[in-house]
Symmetry: C2
Subunit: 362 residues, 2 copies
DNA sequence: TGAGGTATCCAAAGCGGTTTGAAAACGATT
DNA sequence: AATCGTTTTCAAACCGCTTTGGATACCTCA
């Protein structure tokens, strides 16, 4: 059943039927009802392909995921972000098109998406420092919203991000307040913008208390279980091991926990851990009571917000870039506790003579 | 730059240009080269929307992910499967369209996908016992490939699946060979087809050795960290705790490990664990050496195979359904070991008098 | 030389909608 | 009754490509 056929049965022109269904005012209310009723009766669904050609709009939004040839990792927050954005698209009549491409083909993919008219706009994932995709998309003329930010970008752009810096600053302060002085950072890859901001929050908080950050306990890697394990294992093996760790992801934290337990230490007593929790639906940080103390911010919500922002921007072109900064909440779990003073392996720090900081290796 | 304009500049008809670019034989080789060169020079990309309307093909494949209102979980294997399928689509010129819909809207979504012509075929995820989507898609006339199988389906259909039953049977046998007699099952939700098959493999292996399966140590839940934790905690608290656990997912296994360590037991010595490992890129089962002993099968590979199968089927309509069964390999990690005999909490089992089976609670 | 092929190219008709510009119908106004 | 402004409807052009059904030019062979 197509428009022409439906019009024929109603003894109306395709023009009028089209207008009736699309809510244009220049059609008699009685006819409109007749048309709508018939459309339902014959189960008429306008052909998407024809609409797209006629209107010149794709009614679709693109997400490009580069499959890096070196790290074969699928961004773990991706699934939840997509779920959030997808809900919005469904409600708004947009399709989500995903392009999985080798990362050297990423630029060409964006160009094609535009020139072939496959999508009306895109969401940019996992931005890096001064990310080349932003000028590219501007040049190409594809509306976009960034999930995260890209420090160093010359021009303004639209984004949805969590306040990573403040989150990590607060987390660090929380550990400092518990008496910890030697705090390790298990960060994501530091060419990723979010990782840079997290590190900044961490070092700032330390500096304010007069603590120099120590590269020996600052790790930067992909956020996998294994890398968390390696980092924690290395840190705990140091002559002056950290008494607390700040971990960028719940996935790395799984590995961190493994290393801690393997070292015979007890999480929350001998070693404190704070994580950043994206509220991944398949890796929740506990249920009623959180496992890890965490800075928490829903990546799914970010997906919803980014999608809404993009759709709204496409509806009002020429507007200024939009920004949305989400604050993470600090939730207290069972993985943090005051610094234990009965330890032996390393002595007091110069700026905290009253507190005998130490790792609690048995 | 569009076809008409390009034709004008070449002083050719759009017909000829179209044919030249699409490799039709009825065009002079010299003209073809001229056309191809001009297309490259002017960076001509045919408009997808027009192609789609003209050919009646969407050149797109749909994936419908229901967002269950009750369990808000995003299937964790989804990301990797999508990555695998997406690679194939990119290479083959297909778009992947993802629909995230509330699960009560799933049926209507499939109907719309067909009647609006948004996609040419779909991949069905996470099939259940006698899944209603299969007859629906058949009725609607949308080609599809199922990732997994649906026991009880009357008609044949195309699928790509891993041999879950054999995998779990082998894993159980492996534990039995190590002397374990009390083996818990931490399964996924048992209305999911894969979970049914896994359970079948497990109970079969037990039955063959004359061991009745005990509902008290068979758990079925969503495969999250928390549910794994709960199951293992409950199992280990029993008067006759299991000495080994068979766990359906590496994510649940994280929780299982937490419960084991919390109970003061040592993984691989006091309690053995075998998992099923989908080789998720963000949750690898170790790197050089596997953490858990596991039955392993790449879900990303399954994604590639399913996509290839579907594309091929769409190219040869009317063919018989296709099937592809992948075998999981059994890899030995550090999480399994022979049954310890120095334990006390429960006695020898009738059929293994020589081995004093016991949990090693200190 | 003329018929019959073959190679090459093109005009025009779709595909199924939207949208422009105009016409028809209708009432109200002068 | 003629004019005007609305309301309502429609014919036709258009979106940018594919594809059908010729047309034309060029060979080949009898």
């Amino acid at each position: 059943m197509n428009l022409k056929e439906l019009a024929r049965r109603l003894d109306l022109s395709p023009t009028t039927v089209s207008r009736a269904l699309n809510g244009y005012p220049e059609v008699n209310e009685a006819t409109r009802e007749r048309v709508v009723a018939a459309a339902r009766r014959y189960n008429y669904q306008p052909n998407t392909r024809a609409i797209r050609l006629a209107t010149g709009r794709a009614m679709a939004i693109g997400h490009v995921i580069p499959i890096a040839t070196r790290h074969e990792i699928v961004n773990p927050v991706f699934a939840d972000f997509i779920a959030g954005a997808g809900e919005v698209y469904s409600r708004s009549g947009y399709d989500m098109v995903l392009s999985v491409v080798p990362d050297e083909a990423e630029e060409q993919t964006y160009r094609d998406l535009k020139s072939r008219g496959t999508v009306d706009g895109v969401i940019v994932h996992a931005p890096r420092l001064d990310d080349p995709r932003l000028p590219l998309l501007r040049e190409v003329g594809l509306p976009f919203v960034v999930h995260g930010r890209s420090s160093g970008s010359a021009e303004p752009y639209s984004w949805v991000d969590v306040n990573n810096r403040r989150a990590f600053r607060r987390a660090t302060e929380f550990l400092l307040d518990l008496g910890h002085r030697r705090i390790a950072l298990v960060n994501g890859l530091e060419f990723m913008d979010f990782a840079i901001r997290r590190r900044a929050g961490y070092t700032e908080a330390l500096a304010e208390r007069g603590i120099a950050s120590d590269p020996a306990i600052m790790f930067s890697d992909e956020m996998t279980e294994s890398s968390g394990y390696r980092a924690a294992k290395a840190a705990l093996a140091l002559p002056d091991p950290p008494t607390a760790l700040l971990v960028a992801s719940i996935i790395s934290a799984m590995g961190v926990r493994r290393a801690i337990e393997e070292a015979g230490l007890k999480l929350g007593r001998d070693v404190s851990v704070i994580i950043h929790d994206d509220e991944l639906s398949y890796l929740k940080n506990g249920e009623e009571v959180p496992i890890f103390t965490a800075t928490r911010s829903s990546v799914r919500l970010a997906g919803r917000l980014a999608a809404e922002m993009l759709i709204d921007m496409m509806g009002h072109p020429g507007g200024p870039p939009r920004e949305r900064l989400l604050e993470a909440e600090l939730i207290i779990g069972q993985s943090t506790g005051p610094l234990q003073s009965n330890a032996t392996s390393h002595g007091a720090l110069p700026d905290a003579p009253a507190l005998a900081a130490g790792a609690a290796k048995p």
